[in-house]
Symmetry: C2
Subunit: 151 residues, 2 copies
Amino acid sequence: MNPALDAHGMLAVAIEQARIGLAEGGIPVGGAIFRTDGTLLGAGRNRLVQNGDPSMHGETDAFRAAGRQPRYGDLILVTTLAPCWYCTGLIHQFRFKQVIVGDSVNAQGGVAWLREKGFDILDLASSECIEMMAKFQRAHPGLWNECVGEG
Amino acid sequence: MNPALDAHGMLAVAIEQARIGLAEGGIPVGGAIFRTDGTLLGAGRNRLVQNGDPSMHGETDAFRAAGRQPRYGDLILVTTLAPCWYCTGLIHQFRFKQVIVGDSVNAQGGVAWLREKGFDILDLASSECIEMMAKFQRAHPGLWNECVGEG
């Protein structure tokens, strides 16, 4: 718990998850869920490779890790990579207050659609996130495609 | 594996999952993923109560259970209840060939949107599914609302 975390500090938590995933041989996408005061509720990462589990994206693993919550409309979801449609659906259903995105260069998912729907999307355009994902996609195109159902 | 399963037979697998969930004290939504020849790849159920895991809806638990798949465009996703937006996003991202729905009375989720997008949605209007969910929603409105983020 770090009540002083700003958006960049929150993204750093998700980036740490992505780097752990990369070190595990996985797809480097990390996510985290915070209260607006910066309290961390849960963090996670894509676990397709590690657990053979296609359902655990960075965002959904963070959602799982945060456990049962009475509501999500006052919570912030952070992700190192723009949410795919699966995770876009999660955001839409649970009405997160804000979504903080590290990289919307290497994937765009449903970000434009969420903005049209009035969601608050803060794109930090993090060079760390963008470079990590670009390098991964170049090195492992098959894994990347599998992860987003484009196998 | 039962290669002779038709749509109703596939839905019966999802209903069995929902009934297991209900017996566990959980939210009775079940899901399953099949090949078009009726081969079962994975089945699952909502596990919010059982595992304290809000990420496991009937559909996403079936997706997890089916494990890594080279593609989803030739697979059928079956669910006892119309997919919420989270599960609608899953369907959209992974381009399932067909979605078989048991009940679109007690929830509608993103079914109309998926149809607009050209997805093949087969609504079996199963009285067994409809009655099971209606009864659950009446008996446990708080759990139902939590499950769909309307707490």
